[in-house]
Amino acid sequence: MGCDVVTVSADTKFVHLAWKKSEGELEKVRYAMGSDPTGRVSRMFGVYDESAGLDLRGTFVINPEGTLLNSEVNFYNLGRNIDELMRKFKANVYMGKKANEACPSKWKDEGDKTLVNPGAKMVGKVHEALEG
């Protein structure tokens, strides 16, 4: 599954370069660092805070057809859980291959229990479907 992570802030690419080279915590960073100084792309995703000129902590998963499948936005002071992001990403890739299955909240990786053909027969019987 080919995936590219792109980080985005309102900083210019020049500032990204300077930050990457000065901050030891970023030593292992390999993803492209995107620059959105006008807020155009950030507005499109609803994360641009007009009152501050800054982006909220928004995470978005887009599939290879260009469809938006996940969005998560945190306020400035709450960091994101990367394990949960990876869980959602893996689930999307899996469901992209298995259109008739749904990944419940406890799904973590391929091989975990899914809900197959969720429909009328499963109404009121989700517990049995998960245990069965």
């Binding site: 792109v6 802030s9 492209a32 995107g34 959105d36 469809t67």
Partner: protein, 56 residues
């Protein structure tokens, strides 16, 4: 308080966009375009954050 607008919704096709980038692997400037990702059949995770030189 913050002032944001709700724009894209889940399940929508994302309109094409382009971003200037700094690519740490090449140690060079580049660009990211959604259209290229679709052409190359690749997934994209966009990760917005407030600003460089802060405590991400």
């Amino acid at each position: 308080m913050c002032e944001t607008v709700q724009a894209l919704k889940l399940g929508q096709k994302v309109p094409d966009f382009e971003l200037d980038t700094y690519d740490p692997v090449q140690d060079d400037f580049g660009s990211f375009r959604l259209k290229d990702q679709i052409a190359r059949k690749r997934w994209t995770i966009l990760f917005f954050y407030p600003a460089d030189f802060t405590f991400v």
